[in-house]
Amino acid sequence: MSIPFYLISALTIAGAVAAMTLKNTLHCALALTIALAGIAFLFLGLDAQFVGFAQILVYIGAVAILVVFAVLLTRSGESLLPAKRARTWLAGLAIAAVTFLVLGWSVLASLYGLPNETAAPSVTMQQIGNALMGPYVFPLEVVAVLLTAATVGAVIVAMHEKARNK
Amino acid sequence: MLGEGILKGLAQTAKNFAGSYVSEERLTTVQYPEERLPVAEASRVFPFLVFDGSEWLGGMRCVACQICEKECPPKCIYIEKSKDKKPDYVGKQQFYPVRFDIDISVCMSCQICVEVCPFEAIKMDTAFELATDDRFGGLLLDRQQLAKSNEYYHSIHPTEASEVDARLDEEKVKAEAKAKAAAPAAAAKPPAPAGGKD
């Protein structure tokens, strides 16, 4: 029941809710950043140092900036029109609530079976490196190919448009 | 290869950085209020009126001929002629300026007034710290403020001043010689005809 956990998770959830409900899209992007930072701290709380810093580096360093760039390039930052709901917004909320109830119930139901106190595993970078290069070397190569394809794809999609309407 | 020019440029600035501590050639900055660069002898800022002897109004060379007032491109000189006369350095009776104002906010120190002045009465000063906070009156110098002694003129422009003095002395000698020559003739002329043109 450590206080920092509650603090950080409250911050994360607040960031997430703000990201979903704010009118101005750019404020949503910044709220998303707060949520991602909160999740990174949660990872650090779970002694997963590498993932925590990777999360900060990848998400806050790149994805958040990407979202902000997208918001600016599509000029949706300035248009302060009321938070338009999709036509079927009510159904969406209902589905979300149902999923939360189902997940929440399943967690609470199996609460007694879950191991609660285990010693903090001391994970060193050495182990992660060996794991990545050992059993997980194939997924690593696949992800590398995927990332290159994604970069090239994104550039072509944007570039293609620019060339056509010139 | 890439970066060669940049390295050469960096070497240059390093040389200048070191040089500024060492060579007089490079560090030419002067800490102005404490240290001052010697003012060039020929430099000119604003005009001033020269007077001989000690008393500034009596010895003033200016005879209010207003040539400089006409010739001044920005028209910054204002002269009022006097009714009576006073003797100049040769002894001849000459007018003198009752008012001689120069508006140094208008004057562009072009020194044409010095060139056209036949009486060597106006010269260029080298004092340049004339800042005042009074925009109008402060920069309008009257003849009292403009008048400076010949010794001061010698102190700021020594060579030019000595040439001017040489010329004036030679003129004085010529004038006295003429006066001496004219004196006996004048003396001879009165006994002969009573009238005569004088």
């Binding site: 806050i60 970078m125 | 890439l2 940049i6």
Partner: protein, 391 residues
Amino acid sequence: MAATFDQIFILFRNWLVHFLPPAWQPAAGALLGVIGIVAVFPGLFALTTLLERKGLGRMQNRYGPNRVGPFGLLQPVADGLKALTKEDVVPFNANGLMHLLAPLVMVVTVFMSFAVLPMGRHMELVDMDAGLLFFFAMGAATELSVFMAGWSSRNKYSILGAMRAVAQMISYEVPMLLSSVAVVMIAGSLSLPKVVAAQNHYTGIFPHWYVFTPWGFGAALMFAIAAIAETNRSPFDLPEGESEIIAGYHTEYSGFKFALFFLAEYLGMFALSGLGVTLFMGGWSAPFSFLTWIPSWIWFFAKVMLAICVFIWMRGTLPRLRQDQLMNFAWKFVLPYSLLVLLVTAFWRFLPPGWERWVVCTVILAVAYVVMGRAAFKLKRVGPRSYRYAE
């Protein structure tokens, strides 16, 4: 005696902390470390602003500031006071919260990145296993604050300036990461004190710094270029270039917030030159074996100040690159060359130690550098020209 003088700060901290009840001692120790950093580096920042202006002055054959205090030493104090007393103008329809938050986020993240730098033997604030990764994570957060600054001042030009600055920082962050990965490959660990330990031994009187190895020199060069670009300095200071119409993301800031941006820029310079010194120039290890009696933290700060002098030197000499040239240079020269350095480091690692691997690596790197340099210039038909004379 030398050892005690070397560890003087640690001993001082332990002596201070032992007054407290043992329960609080670790927390108090950490707090003292933080206070140390937050005091030392802004002090260095003040000194550097004076150093920069005097250095630039001397490079341009004029005195630097020497009116405020003896030799101008109180000039930073005067600048600080001026910054504090200046009116803090916030644009009319600016977004108040983000306008205020941007400089704070920037300064905080840069201060946090100092935590992992080993400033002396056992003098790193926290010895993190993934220290280098933490450093770059903090580096990534500053881009966001640049954007918040640009966007929140609602001025069309500062948005453009912010987008340019962020694009530049991102495209130079990739080669910076790659060149530091080369060091990790050889040192075998992400933790910076281990990297320094790996460099801290000598053959004869010469140290085993990585900058003296071929791959290390290549990586150090690319790291230096990326570091200069990352902190928007000298040839890459386009975002706030005054001769451009787009005047950079901190146009709408004045007074204390502008001083914070200024502080953040200089702290970024310290952090990156500190990292560069740790990765390539042996952190706090002495340059010659017979000099090890001098305390280690003196070496770290001497090298950082040396790096700062190089920053100032570049600023005094080089004109500015244009935005598109800047980006092309990043993606078409610095990044490929960093990848090549990674390859050569791998060779270096797996070739048997001896003169062959020196020759192989040096040849590959040198040839690649010359060829890529010439190709880059041939492509744009740029090069020294000869001139004819008429009659």
